[in-house]
């Protein structure tokens, strides 16, 4: 009653990124999705680096299911990132968003031809540049001391004033850190080639002990990275009300499009200067 013939599993192409040209010798050293190999699909003077993926795990329906599984999501994100990072070490790369899957190489080649101008433009723009992340967290208790209320009203009134100050200190700390974050971002954006702010990470996800007020990404020329790091240090000294953390270099995930649109929702707003 049961048949021994396995149904053929259809295979798709998971796109990691687009480069001007891929060195097959380098690609041979890179591990793709599920521990598989990666290969280049060449067309229109560009190369798309892809992993072969079974569509029973990576088709649209399967992806919707799998993306909701943290272990799967982490594995996929890390595998994808490893390939993109390897590519970025050899030259400019336009990283693909996670879960960009095509039916076959022909479709990938057609995409390269169709988007050639955009992709080539992006590769030019990203050449010799890397993405750096700067995150800023609220520093509890860094609120500038308001003058100690003195005189008038005796101990009871003084207690009430102190109590009120304690209650507003948290909001105040948050507000002051947010202002510092905006100032830090403006200074870093001025130094960087391009800049954008991601939505601050939820504390449950970041694991940080205080709220995040800045989740910035900065595209920096390779030659000015030391200056950028020095500026971060300087800004950290100038703004003790926010704790800064530098990460990178990242492949230019946040700068794939020429003018990244601002996030629709910010818990922190830009200062108005």
């Amino acid at each position: 009653m049961s048949t021994t013939a396995e149904p053929a599993v259809t295979v798709g192409a998971w796109l990691h990124g687009v480069v001007s040209d891929a060195d097959d010798a380098v690609l041979a050293t890179v591990t793709g999705m599920d521990g598989g190999t990666v290969r280049a699909v060449r067309a229109a003077g560009l190369a798309a680096v892809v992993s072969a993926v079974p569509l029973d795990g990576y088709g649209e329906e399967a992806l919707r299911r799998n993306l909701a599984d943290l272990a799967w999501l982490e594995r996929a994100a890390r595998s994808h990132h490893a390939v993109v990072e390897a590519l970025s070490r050899t030259g400019p790369v336009v990283p693909a968003r996670l879960a960009t899957v095509h039916h076959d190489d022909t479709r990938v080649a057609a995409m390269l031809a169709e988007r050639r101008a955009d992709l080539a433009g992006a590769l030019d723009r990203l050449a010799g540049r890397g993405e750096w992340g700067v995150k800023g967290y609220v520093v509890p208790g860094a609120v500038p001391r308001t003058e100690e209320p003195t005189g008038g009203g005796g101990a009871g009134a003084a207690y009430l004033r102190r109590r009120r100050a304690q209650l507003t200190a948290r909001d105040e700390g948050q507000r002051i850190a947010a202002e510092a974050a905006a100032a830090v971002h403006v200074a870093l954006a001025r130094y960087a080639v391009e800049a954008r702010r991601h939505t601050p990470q939820d504390r449950r996800l970041s694991g940080a002990s205080t709220a995040m007020v800045l989740n910035g990404a900065y595209l920096v020329d390779a030659g000015t990275v030391d200056g950028f790091a020095a500026l971060v240090r300087e800004l950290a000294d100038r703004h003790p009300e926010v704790r800064l953390e530098l990460t990178g270099p990242w492949p230019p995930y946040s700068f794939v499009t020429e003018r990244p649109e601002e996030e629709a929702v910010h818990t922190v707003r830009e200062a108005a200067w």
Binding site: V18, L67, D69, A77, R97, V101, R204, A222, A236, T247
Partner: protein, 71 residues
Amino acid sequence: MVTTQLAPSTADDPLAYRPVALVDLLDRVLGTGVVITGDITLAIADIDLVRISLRALVASVGALVPPEVAS
């Protein structure tokens, strides 16, 4: 005491391997500037992708961490 955690000077050694925080990675690989859309995953819009994944994250983290002060 405020500390700035600067990454090791990767400018000196770009090949240095450093583990990457999953949240930082997801900020970047999910829906930040899309120039290419896969023909199979066309229907999984940015918002969808982020929402689906965040639900997975929050659900998993929520199971580990005692519920924090709301908001």
